[in-house]
Amino acid sequence: MIVVEGLSVSFGAVQALRDVSFEAQTGKITAVLGSNGAGKTTLLRTISGLKEPASGSVMLNERSLLHVKPENIARLGVGHVPEGRGVIGEFTVEENLRLGAMMAKVNLSAGLEEQYERFPVLGERRKQHAAKLSGGERQMLAMARALIAQPSVLLLDEPSLGLAPLVTSQLMHSIHDLCATKNLTVILVEQNASTALRISDHAVVLHLGSVVANDVASKIAADEDLRRYYLGMVE
């Protein structure tokens, strides 16, 4: 479980997050929604330690993550699939996965097998350079690379970006299944609110760095004002 409390983050004069508080429950998907520049990426980067907050705190199962280095937060079981996926193009698919498995306590070949089973395309192309993969395949690789380390928390930054609708819905399904079967804490950042809300249990809406709504996903999805003004879901 991740508990964010009173989090404020700034880049010089720009305040990217103001007093953000919410909880992400274990075994549940928490969606973080908002338009461009709302501060979603900044929120995830602060949780995983890449950015120091000005004030506030982040707790992972009662343990404060403040001032903990990103590599150590990762070792505590927080998997972060960054914006733009962060696949290393110069590495082969398998090297990317081996890098992900670096700190896992499990057997490497068992881990690889598990991921290749989940994403068969990756198994077929394991010797290819990741730069050659399609956008969807890269997203799978990024997910597989995070999962192979057996994380307890998964931070996903706009996984649907650039994917075809069909691929997106497949991806969302697998996220949903993963969360349930592995009892993960998932924080799912999305601009594509309707897709995200469909699989989420809880949702937080950010606007210009502040939380404007924090509720059960179905309630957020039903709120006309939120849909119109913050989520850009006009029918």
């Binding site: 590599e71 150590n72 990762a74 960054p82 962060g86 992900g100 700190m103």
Partner: protein, 299 residues
């Protein structure tokens, strides 16, 4: 073909190979640092020079050759790691000229200190390998026990580095840290340690190179022993592509052989001019190096 010419050519190739592996090693050590930290280390000759003085001169009375080599290596590792932690760390993310200027300053200080402590007199290093050329059919060929030692050591070092980078977990992390530091951290790689390790490794390669150069009966160890060799090593690295370890080694060996021919058939004064010419032409034709696949530009 004229047997005299044939033996001359064979001699040039062998002599060139001996020099070339040294250039290749220097180039390799430069590439290791460039790839991991984006810095061209102008003190790459001077830092191992200090380690070599400490190992091979200070301890020469107590120990024989091989223990001294081991001491030099340990000191070289320490100098590499210490420099990265204490000096270079402050230069990441600064304008491009800052690290250049600082490392040039470091070069001058190290050479000055070495000359102040050990003077500029060449120090011979007694080693088990004879510098006298082998005989083949009653005629000497340009290969001695010592140059064989140089070539074999260089090959072993290059192979070890290749194996480390290609086949080990550590190598994977080193490469990942250089290519994508932030992503690597998110995957739990201790990138900061990897940067230090890059310098440590590079200094290991550098120290072995300097020991090989200084053990040469005809050279000896001086504070500036690596200055000229650094220039050739840089040329090899730039020609091969600063991002490419394999390119560094291959172009180092090629340059060594070409220059041996130039010195033999033209005039040894032309060697450095031809080397500069090679650099100029190759940068014109392949700006990113002959062996760099992608034209990724570091910004």
């Amino acid at each position: 073909m004229d047997p005299f010419l044939t033996s001359r050519i064979v001699s040039d190739i062998l002599g060139g190979l001996t020099n070339g592996v040294i250039y290749g090693l220097v180039a390799l050590s430069l590439v290791l640092i460039w790839r991991s930290t984006g810095i061209l280390n102008f003190a790459q000759g001077a830092m191992p020079m200090i380690a070599t003085y400490i190992g091979m001169v200070v301890f020469a009375h107590e120990f024989s050759y091989w223990p001294c080599v081991a001491i030099s290596l340990v000191v070289g590792f320490a100098i590499g790691g210490g420099t990265e932690r204490l000096l270079v760390r402050h230069l990441y993310g600064k304008p491009e000229i800052n690290p250049i200027v600082v490392m040039v300053g470091f070069l001058i200080v190290l050479e000055g200190v070495a000359a102040a402590v050990w003077s500029t007199e060449p120090r011979g290093i007694v080693n088990p390998f004879s510098p006298i050329d082998f005989q083949l059919g009653g005629k000497p060929i340009a290969m001695s026990a010592f140059s064989l030692y140089e070539v074999i050591t260089a090959m072993v070092v290059m192979t070890l580095v290749a194996v480390l980078f290609r086949y080990t977990k550590l190598g994977l992390q080193l490469r990942a840290s250089a290519l994508a530091p932030e992503v690597s951290r998110l995957l739990g790689v201790r990138v900061s340690r990897m940067l230090t390790l890059g310098w440590v490794l590079s200094m290991g390669v550098g120290t072995i190179t300097t020991i090989l150069v200084a053990s040469n009966f005809f050279t000896g160890l001086t504070p500036q022993v690596m200055d000229g060799i650094f220039a050739f090593g840089f040329i090899a690295a730039a020609v091969g592509g600063l991002d490419s370890p394999v390119g560094a080694i291959i172009s180092g060996i090629c340059i060594g052989i070409i220059l041996q021919f130039v010195g033999d058939f033209l005039n040894s004064n032309y060697i450095i001019l031809v080397a500069l010419g090679i650099l100029i032409v190759s940068l014109m034709v392949r700006p990113n190096g002959l062996f760099t696949k992608s034209s990724v530009r570091r910004v």
